[in-house]
Symmetry: C2
C-alpha cells in the first residue's frame, strides 16, 4: 500500500484507519496501560488510539526488563507541537525504564530535496539536539544519532538491503524510476534507524517501541519484516491522533501557519493563536447562548494535548466552553499565556541542554 503523507489531511476516520492499516485498537490493552496513563496525558486522554505489539513493551515494563524507545526526526523543519507529542511519549516510556534513541535523518532531508546540501541538513540536525533534550528527556538514558555520520547506520542499512527488493520499496514508498536512488535506499536506512538499538554494540535484541503517525505504519511493517529476517525483535509501534493545523487541515512542519513551532517568537505565537480556528460560535452572543464545540477546537487541542496536565482543570475548560461560559477571545488569551510560560521556561532549558549534546550523541 503506497501512502502519501500529505494525503493524511483534516478530519480522519480513525476507526477506518485502524482497519485499513491492520493495527490494533489500544482499548484491548486497557488494564495494562495503567502506569502509562498515570504519567502520560496522551494515554490518559485516549490520544494514543492504536498500536502493534505494545504488549511486549508493557511486559518489559512489568518485568523491569530492558527495552528501547525510538522516535526520529527529519531535520527539514524546526520542531512544532506535533513533533513534541513523539518526545512526550518517549519521555513516558523512558520514565518506565526505556532507553530512548533518536535518529535525525539529515540524509532524508537532503535526498528528498528539503535542503540545498547535506551539510546544511546536518547542521540543522545538530542544532535540533538541545531542542529535543530540553523537552524533558533524561540525558543518561537518551542517545541521539545523525544518520549520515553515525557509524552504525550505513552498515546496518546494507545488511537490511539484501533482505528486501526494489519492488517492495516502490510499493511502500510510491517512488518511481525517475526518483533518485538515495530515496530508495533511504527506505532501508529508515528501517535501520528503527532496528539500530538492537545491534550488539548497543542494547542487543530488545523490544523496541516506535511512536509514529499512522501514515508511517507501512515503514514500521517493513522494519518488522526485516527484523524477523535478521533475528531482531519485531519493533512495536503506537499511533496517536494527529493535532489539527491551526487553520484546519493537518499540522505540518512545511506549513508555518499550521502549527506553533517551539522557536516561534512570542509575537508570532500570539498572532497564530489569535487567528486559530476554534469551535466557537460565529458571535460572542451566540457563544454565550449556545456554547462552543471544544472537540472541534484547535485551541482546546493545545490544552488537551500539551498545556493542561490536570484532568480536572481540562474538564472545567471543556464544560465552560460547552456551556457558553468561556468565549474564544479569553480562551485564546489564556492559551497564549500558557504557551508563553511554557516556551520561556523551555528556552532556558534549551540553553542548558547545549552542554549535553556531547553526552547523548552516538557517533
Amino acid at each position: 500500500m503506497a501512502i502519501d503523507v500529505e494525503k493524511v489531511e483534516g478530519e480522519i476516520d480513525y476507526d477506518k484507519v485502524i482497519k485499513e492499516f491492520g493495527v490494533e485498537p489500544i482499548e484491548a490493552l486497557k488494564p495494562k496501560l495503567k502506569k502509562l496513563e498515570e504519567i502520560s496525558l496522551l494515554y490518559r486522554r485516549g490520544i494514543i488510539f492504536a498500536h502493534r505489539d505494545l504488549n511486549k513493551i508493557l511486559d518489559a515494563i512489568e518485568k523491569k526488563e530492558n527495552f528501547a524507545v525510538l522516535t526520529g526526526f527529519n531535520p527539514s523543519a524546526p520542531l512544532h507541537f506535533g513533533n513534541k507529542m513523539f518526545i512526550d511519549q518517549a519521555i513516558a516510556f523512558q520514565r518506565l525504564g526505556g532507553k530512548v534513541y533518536i535518529p535525525l535523518s539529515d540524509d532524508e532531508t537532503y535526498v528528498f530535496g528539503k535542503s540545498n546540501s547535506l551539510e546544511e541538513a546536518r547542521e540543522r540536525a545538530y542544532s535540533l539536539i538541545p531542542k529535543i533534550l530540553a523537552l524533558g528527556l533524561d540525558v543518561n538514558k537518551t542517545k541521539v544519532f545523525v544518520s549520515s555520520t553515525c557509524k552504525y547506520v550505513y552498515p546496518l542499512a546494507v545488511k537490511l538491503s539484501r533482505k528486501t527488493t526494489l519492488s517492495t520499496i516502490k510499493a511502500i514508498f510510491g517512488f518511481n524510476d525517475s526518483d533518485n536512488p538515495g530515496k530508495f535506499f533511504y527506505g532501508v536506512v529508515q528501517a535501520a534507524h528503527i532496528l539500530l538499538p538492537q545491534i550488539e554494540e548497543l542494547e542487543g535484541r530488545v523490544p523496541t517501541v516506535v511512536p509514529i503517525g499512522i501514515d508511517q505504519d507501512p515503514y514500521i511493517r517493513l522494519a518488522r519484516d526485516l527484523a524477523e529476517k535478521l533475528n531482531f525483535e519485531k519493533p512495536s509501534s503506537t499511533n496517536h491522533f494527529f493535532m489539527r493545523g491551526l487553520r484546519g487541515g493537518k499540522m505540518s512542519g512545511s506549513k508555518k501557519e499550521s502549527a506553533i513551532f517551539l522557536d516561534d517568537s512570542l509575537e508570532i505565537v500570539k498572532e497564530k493563536i489569535m487567528n486559530a480556528l476554534t469551535g466557537g460560535a460565529p458571535s460572542r452572543e451566540e457563544q454565550r447562548k449556545f456554547g462552543g464545540k471544544p472537540e472541534r477546537c484547535v485551541v482546546f487541542e493545545y490544552f488537551k494535548f500539551h498545556l493542561v496536565e490536570d484532568d480536572e482543570r481540562l474538564r472545567k475548560i471543556y464544560s465552560e466552553c460547552r456551556e457558553g461560559k468561556r468565549v474564544c477571545g479569553d480562551c485564546k488569551q489564556e492559551c497564549f499565556e500558557m504557551l508563553a510560560k511554557f516556551l520561556e521556561s523551555y528556552r532556558e532549558r534549551v540553553e542548558k541542554a547545549k552542554d549535553m549534546v556531547g553526552k547523548v550523541l552516538l557517533e
Copy 2:
C-alpha cells in the same frame, strides 16, 4: 549501455571495444607517456591500450602537481595476478607523485550475495590490506578504506545519489525491480569511492586516475557525470588488456583454476602452470620444428605482464619460443620458478606489511 562483466570473455577485439565504449586509444598520447613507460612494463609493452583524460594526469606529473590514483577491490575473492596489474599501475603513478586510494567494497561483496554476512566481507577486506601493500605501495602515500566503515563513504554517496535517477542506475548496471535496493545504491557508492580523494577533508579537487577493466567503463562514466554536478574534477581512467585465464577464457576471481592467486600454495601454483594452455605445438617434435605462438600463450603472459622486467630477456623468450628453441615443459618450469621466487619474497613482505595496516587505514 548495460554491461555484463561475465560476458567479457576469451578473445576480445580491442579496437571494436575502443569504438563501442568511446574511450581514447593510448597511442595518441605517445611522446608524453615516456616517464610511465620507463617505470612500468604495462605502459612499455602496450598492455594499457586506452584511456579517458589521461592527459590531465600526465600534465600533473609534468608540473609536479598533486593528483590521486584510485583502484578498488571487491573482497569477494583472494587476489590474483589479474588484480596485481591494477596495483602495479597504482604503484607507477605513485612513483610519479600520485596519492593512492584503495577502496575495499565489503558492502558490494555482501549486497551481491558473495558473502554470508557483512562482517565476513569486512573481515576479508581487512585481511586484504597487507596483501595489497606488499605488492610495493609506499605506505606514506597510500590510503585504504573499507567501504562500510569509512566515515566519508556514505555521506558522499548520499550527496551523489540526488544527482542521478534510478533509471540511470538500471541502464548502467542492468538491475531490475526484483534486485535488492542495496545493489542500486551501491552504483552510487562506487562513484563515491572514485570521487572520495577529492573531498575537502582529503586531497580537495584534484585530477584522479582510475585504472579499470574496460567492462567497468560505464561506472567511470557515471562517476564523471556526477563529478561535474558536484564540482569535482572528472576522473580519468586507463584500460588494459585482460590477462587470459590459465585454461583460456577470462581470468576470474571466482574461477579458481583460471588464475594464479597470490596465496596459492607453491604446489597449487606448479599444478596450475603445468596445466596451463600454451601457444605450443601439439608435440615436442612439432614445437622444435615449427616453433610456438607466444602471443597466444598464457605462460608467456605471466612473463610479459609480471615476471620478466627486462625487455631484452622477454624478447629472447619470445624468439626462442617462435624458433622452437624453447619447449613448453621447460618454459613452464622456468615460469613456475620465477613465480615461486616472487611469491616467497612477496609473502615475507605481506608479514611485514601487517604492521602498516593502521598507518594506511582511512576510517
